[in-house]
């Protein structure tokens, strides 16, 4: 996720990363990481540090980028497939979760 300031509202962090910030800590896929008391905005760097997220700061453009969390030590933190919405060729958004009830073979490819 790309940020243009080092802190952000809790809802934005939750929406982008899938981590929910609760009294017991940051929680995802049944795992909770304890956190200091939360305010309305969170310090992205501190949170990223606790969740093992790589943080890159681009001075020149005043941007930060947070990589995925590494709490589980693996790319997948859960066998539950994450939901996502991506556009088709016509730009129409398609929500992957709408295929619930079907077996899906998801194939990533590229023109390069």
């Amino acid at each position: 996720m790309i940020l243009d300031r080092p802190d952000l509202p809790i809802e934005d962090f939750e929406r982008e990363t899938g981590w929910l910030l609760k009294p017991e800590g940051a929680c995802k896929a049944g795992v909770c990481i304890p956190l200091p008391p939360l305010r309305a905005t969170v310090d992205a760097g501190e949170l990223a540090d606790r969740l093992g997220m790589g943080v890159v700061h681009d001075d020149r453009h005043g941007l930060w980028a947070l990589g995925p969390s590494t709490v589980s030590g693996r790319a997948l933190e859960s066998a539950d497939a994450p939901d996502f919405t991506l556009p088709d060729l016509a730009g129409r958004p398609f929500r992957f979760g709408s295929l619930r009830g079907r077996k899906v073979v998801l194939v990533a490819w590229a023109s390069w």
Partner: protein, 228 residues
Amino acid sequence: MWQELRAELHDDGLEVVTVALDSAGPEAARPWIERARPEHPALIDEHHRLDELFGIVNVPSGVWIDEAGVIVRPPEPAFAARPEWDEGIDDDATGYQRRTLALEEQLLVEDEKYVAAVRDWARHGADSRYALTPEEVLARSRPRSRAESEAAAHFELGIHLRRQGHAADAVEHFRAAHGLQPDNWTYRCQAWSFVDPHLGPSAEYDTDWASEVERTGVEAYYPPLDMP
């Protein structure tokens, strides 16, 4: 390729979703999608979100998700047919293109094995010997270190800056991503594609596709499928 398999297995409850990891956008993917005439969703992932979500580092990669939304096979090489890599080669092909083609022809492509597995899963579902338990899925998911997470952050910044018109600054981030996660072919190929569609030597990068494949070994590019 996938459309044929999808048509065959659709009534067994199987759907195919193809996703182009193409930061150049829909126009880059359009010729292939239009030729395939898919009846299944064919999506465009310009920001490479799937790479992070599933741990995809090369293409083509396949992930199986069952009816309950549970992953039963994490990313692995996924071919429905052997690609016709020589299609783009004509009398004007450069030495580099021919070198690339010679390497491509040595890559391990297990299309028959993969298709047979998909057919078995379509037919038998959870009872298929190809459907893994959640524990097996997590155990097979590729390790992710802090360095790799940082690579993802650099790559995302590179894509973002490139879209903003800062191509040279983007290159710096792509180079950092490559250094932090050298075995991520997606990061390399996407970055190289911006300076050379043939992924050849460039002023911006220290290496190219053919050189890297030769260095790391053709047999390592698409690892053998771990299935019965």
